[in-house]
Structures are given as C-alpha cells and as structure tokens.
Amino acid sequence: MAEVVSMADIEATAQRHGIDLSSVDLDSIRLPPGEDFGIKSDDDEDPHQEDPLEFEAGFGNTIVVDNLPVVPPEKFEKLEGVVRKIYSQIGVIREGGLWMPMNPETQKTLGYCFIEYNTPQEAELAREKTNGYKLDKSHIFVVNLLDDFEKYMKVPEEWTPAEINPYTPGENLQQWLTDEKARDQFAIRAATFTEVFWNDSRQLMPDLVYRRQYWTESFVQWSPLGTYLATVHRQGAAVWGGATTFNRLMRFAHPQVKLIDFSPGEKYLVTYSSHEPSNPRDTHRVVLNIFDVRTGKVMRDFKGNADEFAAGGSGGVSGVSWPIFRWGGGKEDKYFARIGKNIISVYETETFTLIDKKSLKVENVMDFTWSPTDPIIALYVPELGGGNQPARVSLVQIPGKEELRQKNLFSVSDCKVYWQSNGEYLAVKVDRYTKTKKSTYTGFELFRIKERDIPIEVLELENKNDKIVAFAWEPKGHRFAVIHGDGPRPDISFYSMRTAHNTGRVSKLTTLKAKQANALYWSPAGHFIVLAGLKGFNGQLEFYNVDELETMATGEHFMATDIEWDPTGRYVATSVTSVHEMENGFHIWSFNGKLLYRIPKDHFYQFLWRPRPPSFLSAEKEEEIAKNLKKYSKKYEAEDQDMSLQLSEQDRKKRKMLQEEWEAWVGKWKQLHEEDRELRVQLREGEASDEEEEYEAKEVEVEEVLEVQEEVVAFDLDED
C-alpha cells in the first residue's frame, strides 16, 4: 500500500477526476481514526506508546482462581462467601468483581472463579499470596492473572530451536574518552530538557553533544564509570549511551520505579518502587529488582512491605534509606548487602543468594558501610542496657565473616563512619555524652586498615566542645579536613595520617580560623579543596591548596546549592538548582578558582559530570608524568595560545560584522527619515524642530527683587 507515488502521477489522476489540485488543502485531510494506510509511523521512540498502559478497566487487575470445590447451587453462596472472605483480605474486590461460573446443565460450579480488583498491584499480590493456598486437602488453589492466560495459550506445542541473530558489532561506548581535546562531559536537566555538553574551557562555553526534551520523567543518573546515562520512566528505567549520539541501549521494566542505583562496576542496576497499600492499615509494599545492565535480565527480585526494608536498628524509625543494597568488594561487584533487624544480609552476585545461605547476625546493628575497595564491612552497634553494654564498631571480612578488628566505645550518642577512597583509612566520628549527659562532644577513632593488626588511634580536637560541621578524606590521599566550631564562623583544620617525620601518627597540618564554610569538596585528584559556604552562607567559595597550605583564590556563587568537581580534578561546577526560584544556573571554575563561564538556566534541576573509569596507568607511570609535567605541558600551552588567538580573532570578526550590520540598518533608516522630513515639519506646523535642529544656548541674567526693606538708621548728629 505504501508504494511511492510521484507527483506527476498524482496530477494525472487528479486531472482524470477533474479535480483542481491547487484548491485542495492537503493539511485538511484527516485519516480515519485507527487507519494508517499501511504507512508505519516512525516515531517509535516514544516510550509511552511502546508499553501497554495500565487501564483501570483492563484485565490486569483480574485473577483466576482454580481448583475450587465443585458445588451444587445450595452450597454456592457458602463457597462464594468463603472465597470472598479470603480475597477481600488482600485488596478491595470491585463491585460485582467476583464471578463464579456455573455449568448450565448440571447446575454445579465449574471449580474456578474470576476476581477483579481495583488495581493490578492488588491482583499481583493476591496471586502471590494465595497461589498454593490449601482450602482443604484436595483443594489447593492455583491462582493466575487473567492476562497471563493469553501468554500461556500461545506456547506452541512443539519445541522450535531459537533463532540465532547474526552478530552485529556494538558501538564504542567509551568513545567520549577519546576526545582529542581531552574534555569532559556533563549532563544538565533544566525545565523539560536534558542536555549533555562538553565542557570546553578553552572556548569558555559548553559545547552541545545531545539534547532531548522529556528524556526522563524524574531524574537522570550516570553510571559510576560513565558508560551509561540512566533515565527513569513510569514503566521502568532505561540506559543510554553510544559513540556520538545517545541511543537507548537497554530498558528495564519496573512499573512506577522511584529510585535506581548502579553497582560500582556498573554491571548491575537496582530499581526500587513502593506502592500505596490498598488497605490504609497496611504499610507500603516495596519492590526491588536487580538487573544485569548489559542483558537486561532480572537477576533477583525482592518484594515485601516497607518495614522489612526500613533501616536497621532495634525498632528504629521506619522509612527506607537509599540505597537499600550497598555494594562491596570494589569494582568487581562481587557482593551486596542490606541491613535488617539484628542482621546484615550479604549476597554474592555469582548466584545472587546469601553467602553461606544465612545472614550475618548482629544484635541491634544500627548501620554498616563497605570499604570502597575491599570486601570489608564496618558496622556500628549502639550502646545498650543503659550503658552496661558498650557501643561497638567492628570490621568484618567477607565472605569469611570473621571480625578483623573491634573497638568498644563508652557513653556514645552517635557514630558515623568515613572511609578513605582507597580503603586505607577509616575514620569513625564518635559523639559522646559529657559526664552530666546534658551535652555531647566529638572525637575521632582512626583505623589504619592496611597496616598489621589495624592500629587504632584516637584524635580529639583542641577544643573538645566544638561541633563538627563536616569531615572529608582526601581522595587517594592521607589527609583529611574537618570543619569544627559553633556559631557562624567555624574553623577548618587539616590533618595528615603520615607526615615526613611522623609516619605512624596523625598530626595536624594547620587550622584556618573563622571561615564562612559549611561544606568540604576535595578534588578527586587530591591536593586541592574547595571550602564552601552553601545555603546560609550565600555561596562563599575558597579554593585552597593543601600541599602549600595557602588559599589560591576566593569566589562567590551567590545562593549556590551544589558543588561538583569534574572527574579529573581540573574544573569545579557550582550550581543553583531550583530549590530557589531565582539565580538558577551553573558556573564553571578552574581548579584554582578562576571563574571560566556562567550559564543561567531557569528551572535548573541537575548538574552531573560524566564520571570516568579509573586510569590504566600504573602508579609509577603516573608519578613519572607528574615529574615531567613541564615537558608535556608545553604542547598544551601552545595549543591554548593558538586557541585564544583564534578566539579573539573570531570575536573581533563577529563584532565587526554586528557593527556593520547595525550601521547598514541605521543608514537605511536615516534615508527614510530624511524623506519624511517635510511631512514631519508639517505636523509640527512649520516649526523646523527635528531632533537635528540646532538651538542656541543663551545666557540670560535675571535680577529678582526678593524683598525690599526700609530701615531707619539712627544717625548721631552730635558727632564731632
């Protein structure tokens, strides 16, 4: 049907039927609904059309219960009552939504019934809960979704071998790393657009890579190594990537997905959704799926009510802390774990089952974290029994589950654990009660993981009562920074785990007094740090060099809410997201605090640098490069210079062009204006007063008599 018809043919046909083609308005032609005349629509990119929508009236919310007893009409009502009782516990059965068909000849039931719920979620739950339900010995329910019947009916009787598709080479998903100018990419989300840009710092502006409207329904997220960009939709999540454009690589079906999380090696994707319970007394139902990113297969799913997935602790506050599953063992994605009541469940990804088929039992465990590089878990158990049983931080090796190190702590109110990015050090911030129990003070327990027996050191600040505002390890380094103090101008201290003359002990490097800062952002390459005063401090920024212990620059991004270093540590992005209405947009700074460019964007939601996978260079090689930096940098400096010359040349040309354009326009106007002069004079009734009129400035002296006063002055006549 969709053959190509040439314009000449159309004209000929029209002539035959006596139609004047020029009088036909082609835009007014509407196809009958549902008819496409065999012409395939080519916007199959629209995800809304691809997946069947869940209509309230569809069969998605209907289940079929099989293996019911076959009963005569006398017992019909009784059986119906029983079935209704069982199934209305799970959800709300629609009015008239229970139908038990009868054999018209024998007047007996057929041994099955249909139940329609209000939502597909309820139907799904009913299937899950009552499939295999024992009504009595000989009646074990078999429950299926009505929608599934169609699927089962289609299964062919004969086995046919699966077709093997010919291999087509995929795109190079790492293409962006081979950029000639070694630029980094970032994704932003503003209003309805999601855009990916190169950060072109030489041109002092971003360079658009890809832009798409309505790309995601809630947020976007890069995978940890930067290969994929994940989007979130009502039907599930999707990942995008490719050599030059962003193509959809895989879809992960998960209705109403709310949160997603990649494993650190980006092999797996965890998706999460929670569903309103149909019965308000119940808690939310939670569904978690773990997908293999490359194949799109569900590796394991977890379902249950929200309480089961709430954070640990005894009783604890309910509410899910994301990510529920935390990945351990570095980039190999070997293990993942979640906390439960008195347990930590550790799974391994070979079989997606619990290690040793059982969870790690830890009474009252409150929180745990993985080492970023090794399969070691740090867990924290709070104080119990009114202080009789001390609080405890311990390190547990996986998969052996042996305790590597343990530390008991007394009069503790709270603990927080910070790993250094190489897993070499661990800092535990301990808030302790003072003797009166009225206030708390803070200290640090520092673990040296890589040393024999894991020595622990205690660090207390000079002023023990200082509140800790922020703490951050130097990535890949041995230093850390702490913001401490009360009031509007806290102090910032830097410590090192090993200095040249003091290798085994922590020592203070310096303290910066009275800084307007409440957040710390280390460069991912270490050495440099941004001390930022966000929110209440209106976006004060200080770029600090920790090697030299000196401030490189200070700046301000008024109202800034977020700061992110690029993965190479060359640039810093500060942004104001739509938490405020005004000032939305982002600024890009160099690592040493020079403002490179500013981009205002209304309704600005996200700024995300595209992460880079770790370098393949060995540590020695990196060191060598760092040593010979001068040699390498010459080439780039020359390039920079060329570029800036070229830029200024371009700029000059553009300005000249604009100027010329303008002058041409003004010239044309002046001519028209001149032609109108006569008419204008007429309008002014002969007064030749155009703006070009010359008038003389005359100086006029005006004398004004303000007051006349008469005064009689006494005159002494008797003067000599």
Partner: protein
C-alpha cells in the same frame, strides 16, 4: 558620581519622563501626585494635584507646556506644566494605563485597562491648542488585545500606533483606520507580559521589556526583531541611551516574592547592555526594591530610575562611562 536620591513619593514609582530639553524630570507613582523635578540637581519643583488614584504614565509636550497623565482613577488629565493648573479631564469607564503625545502634540493615544467586564482599549484623542476648546471625543477606539495594554506609543509620522501588554504580543496599528498592521511572532517574540516599551531618540527603533526576563529591540516600521538582551530578572523597565549604543533595563523579583535574606537576591540593579553586541556592560545598584521605571536624559549624560521602594535615583555618569571599550 554619587546618585541623587529624590524622596518625594510615598508609594512605588510607576513612570519617569524627561522633557525634550532634559532639564525637567516628571515622575509618576502609585501615590496620587505626579511630581516635576530639576533634572540636574534633583530639586523638587512642584506637584500636580488632582488625581484620585495611582498614576501610571505621563507625557510632556514638545514645548514643555502641556503635561498629560493617566491614572487608575479612570481619568486622564491635561496640566499646565508651569503653573500646575488642571486644564482638562478625560473620563473613562476603567483605569487609564498609558498616554503618549503624537509628533506635533495634536493627538494623544491613551490605553485603558479591562475593568468590570469592559475590554481594554486604545483610544486616540484630539488635543486642542486652546484648552477651552478641548473635547472628550475619541477620534479612534481600538479593541482587541486581551488583558492590559501596558504601553502604547506613536510610530513615525503618527501613521501607526505601537502597543504591547499582558498578552506578550507587540502590535502595530494604523492610526487612521485602527486596522492591525503587524504583530510580533509567537516564536521570536516575548513569552510573558510586556511591561515597558521605549523608543529610541530618533524614533527608528524601540525596546520592549518583559517578565520573561528579556528585552527586545525592534524596527519601528517593519516590526523586525533586531536584538534580544537576556538577563536573569523579570524586566519592568527599559530605556535606550540617546548618546551611546547602550540600553538599560531594570526590574527584579516581584515585590511580593522579595526575600528578606539578602538584597542581592532580588536583582534590583539597573543593568546596562551594549545595544549592538548584546553584551552586558555593568550594573548600577542602589534600589532596595524592584525597579519600575527608567529614563535617559535626552543628552545621554544622566539617567534616572524609580523603584518599588518609592525613591527616584538620579545618576550622572562618571567620565569613565563614556570611555567604556567593548
């Protein structure tokens, strides 16, 4: 130079106008009395008493003899500039928003707001030489645009009228027949309410400011969009320098949204842009509320701004201003 602060109004400023010679500055505010000042030193010369509502707009005749003011009290009044005497009152059924004298001062265009079921209108009145012969009849009444018409001005040779307002569209009308001649494009035009419109000194182009945070420069004959200036605040007022290739715009967060945390948050600066290159030159701070009115002195050596804060700030440019190299 230090700006001169002129405190004479008790309510937010709405409009500023210099006379042709640039020695007088007329200011309108939401209090009911338009005021005239010496444009050089900011001394107050006098007020025009008689209105009974906010005064939205004014214009002064070529010879600085006649002042016309439009007010929310549903009237437009003619005044003797020198004596402050009320000469004539046009009465309307709804608040008057914009007024503008034609070339030759024989006509005035007036816009009225939609009010109590009445649509907004653009009306042309004849202005008599002798006030005693003044009549209230309209020569022309144009209806059509939705919402308030915030500004209406005369085009070249009084042949056209340019209007803009809440529907974000800039329109050119035939001033004889009332026919719609041209309309700005939805795509390239403003996206939100046009708040201000000001003509260049030679009347060849005009600048519109809008709540969509931009100002646009248009050809007055063809309504071609020439330039767009993007800023980060809603634009309430704009003006074109008669001397240099500069434009200035002012505005800021809506008064009802102004936070109390920091003055900078509201963006109450007057921002200067290079007219041709569309690049930002700088800003003039000072107001502690949004700027509602801006005007350049006809000599281009000073400008004044009026704010929601009730102040008029008169700025004489420093010599460095004239040496700015872009």
């Amino acid at each position: 130079m230090r700006p001169i602060l002129m405190k004479g109004h008790e309510r937010p400023l709405t409009f500023l106008k210099y006379n042709r010679e640039g020695d007088l500055l007329f200011s309108c505010a939401k209090d009911h009395t338009p005021t005239v000042w010496f444009a050089d030193n900011g001394e107050r010369l006098g007020t025009y008493r008689g209105h009974n509502g906010a005064v939205w707009c004014c214009d002064v005749s070529h010879d600085s003899g006649l002042l016309i003011t439009g007010s929310a009290d549903q009237s437009v009044k003619l005044w003797n500039v020198q004596t402050g005497a009320q000469l004539y009152t046009f009465n309307f059924g709804s608040p008057a928003r914009a007024v503008d004298f034609s070339v030759g001062d024989k006509l005035a265009v007036i816009t009225t707001d939609p009010f109590m079921g009445l649509p907004s209108t653009i009306q042309v009145k004849q202005i008599a030489r002798d006030p005693s012969e003044q009549t209230s009849e309209s020569v022309l009444t144009i209806k059509g645009p939705q919402g308030r018409i915030n500004r209406a001005v005369w085009g070249p040779l009084n042949k056209t009228i340019i209007s803009a307002g809440e529907d974000a569209v800039v329109r050119i009308w035939d001033s004889e027949t009332g026919q719609l001649l041209k309309e700005s494009d939805k795509e390239t035009g403003h996206q939100k309410t046009v708040t201000s419109l000001s003509k260049s000194a030679d009347g060849s182009h005009f600048l519109t400011g809008s709540l969509d945070k931009s100002a646009k420069l248009w050809d007055i004959r063809t309504l071609t969009l020439i330039k767009t200036y993007v800023t980060e605040r809603p634009v309430n007022a704009c003006a074109i320098s008669p001397l240099l290739d500069h434009v200035v715009m002012g505005g800021g967060q809506e008064a009802s949204h102004v936070t109390t945390t920091d003055r900078r948050a509201g963006k109450f600066e007057a921002k200067f842009f290079h007219k041709i290159l569309q690049e930002e030159i700088g800003g003039v701070k000072g107001h502690f509320g949004p700027i509602n009115a801006l005007a350049f002195n006809p000599d281009g050596r000073s400008f004044s701004s009026g704010g929601e804060d009730g102040y008029v700030r008169l700025h004489h440019f420093d010599p460095e201003y004239f040496n700015i190299k872009m």
